[in-house]
Amino acid sequence: MRYNERELLSLARQPAEKAAEVLMRVPKKGSVLKKRLVKLVVNFLFYFRTDEAEPIGALLLEHCKITKEEENVFSISFLEEPERKYRFECDSEEQCQEWIEALKRASYEFMRRSLIFYRNEIQKMTGKDPLEQYGISEEARFQLGTPKQ
């Protein structure tokens, strides 16, 4: 699949929501745990060799499942292949939990759901659509399907 690599590389250089050195294993036959720098930027998780400026790869965090494995360990898998897990070993259980929380919230779809909920709540409380002032009430991506006034 073609993609705009230059822009993705540029994204990888931006300030991260979260970044850390962890041990990572990709779901490939024979692969082993390797020390990696992982960096969460918008809905991508980039992973780098610890001494390199350019990422080895990126995971788009949509339709994925974040699972707590054993102590200090979590995994990322994707809906269509739930047994194929990217494994991450953290330095501490606390760090592990922080990553799980951050990754669960990292998807565009998660944010969309939050937005729709907040919009609805505000509308219920005030009778006004909070998106109107920004001129985006009609945007397809913000629709819930409640009947329009």
């Binding site: 699949m1 993609y3 705009n4 230059r6 822009e7 993705l8 540029s10 994204l11 300030p15 991260a16 979260k18 970044a19 850390a20 050195e21 720098l37 960096k39 918008v42 809905n43 080895i56 790869g57 990126a58 995971l59 788009l60 949509e62 339709h63 994925c64 499942k65 974040i66 994707f78 809906l79 269509e80 292949e81 939990q97 922080e98 929380e101 951050a102 919230r105 990292a106 565009y108 779809e109 944010m111 759901r113 939050s114 937005l115 909920f117 907040y118 609805n120 709540e121 505000i122 409380m125 005030t126 909070p130 002032q133 920004y134 985006i136 945007e139 991506r141 819930l144 399907g145 409640t146």
Partner: protein
Amino acid sequence: MKLNERSLAFYATCDSPADNAGFLYKRGERHTAYHRRWFVLKGNMLFYFEERESREPVGVIVLEGCTVELCDSAEAFAFAIRFGGAKSRTYVLAAESQAAMESWVKSLSRASFDYMRLVVRELEKQLEEMHSGTAGGRGGCQVAPTSWKQKPSGPERSPERLPALPAVLPKENGCAVWNNAPGGDPPLDTCCGGDNSEGSPPTLPPRRRASSSEAGSAGAAVAESPSTFCWLHERYGRAVAQLRKEWLERQPGPRL
């Protein structure tokens, strides 16, 4: 750079609703001929397929950081997706009608994750002000247009803090599934203050500035409990999932 292409392809073709979809002409990189492709916009990813029925996209344009402009082109209804870098490619696309062009320009220019995040934070702030603020925050509240920049917490705000949540996360994995069936009830009895009556949304935790830590720095900027948000989101998500289900059932035909 490796990408999780299989998952990307799945995301592109699964039946989660697209934010926009339709035929567009895409100008080639080296040659100026236009090729008609089927485009699907989901979130901040613009996928394009050779045919509408193709099982896998030919490619994807990651839209983060782009600007969308109208184009002066011999081709009618043309517009461009531009990126900031010096050597960045500009994607020139053309729609088949004025209406289609406007629809695409609108949806693409607001497709970024950053934009969505700004809107969410703004609404979050408004909701929080209504809950934790004075009675003046309710009823006929003036939702004055605020700047997108984050403002520091006002001194009059008294954010209510939730008691510590149990360490066990809600049964349902809070994953980013469009059709995620709501899971077990979160442990309501062990958290939240007395004002969390049934039917009203839980009190929002205090807001924090997003951490923009550089690589290597500890994630120390988490002032609010992350598990609070995740739990809250799960609870919120149920209503949304239900409403969405009802809405989908009411739709006459396949949604664009």
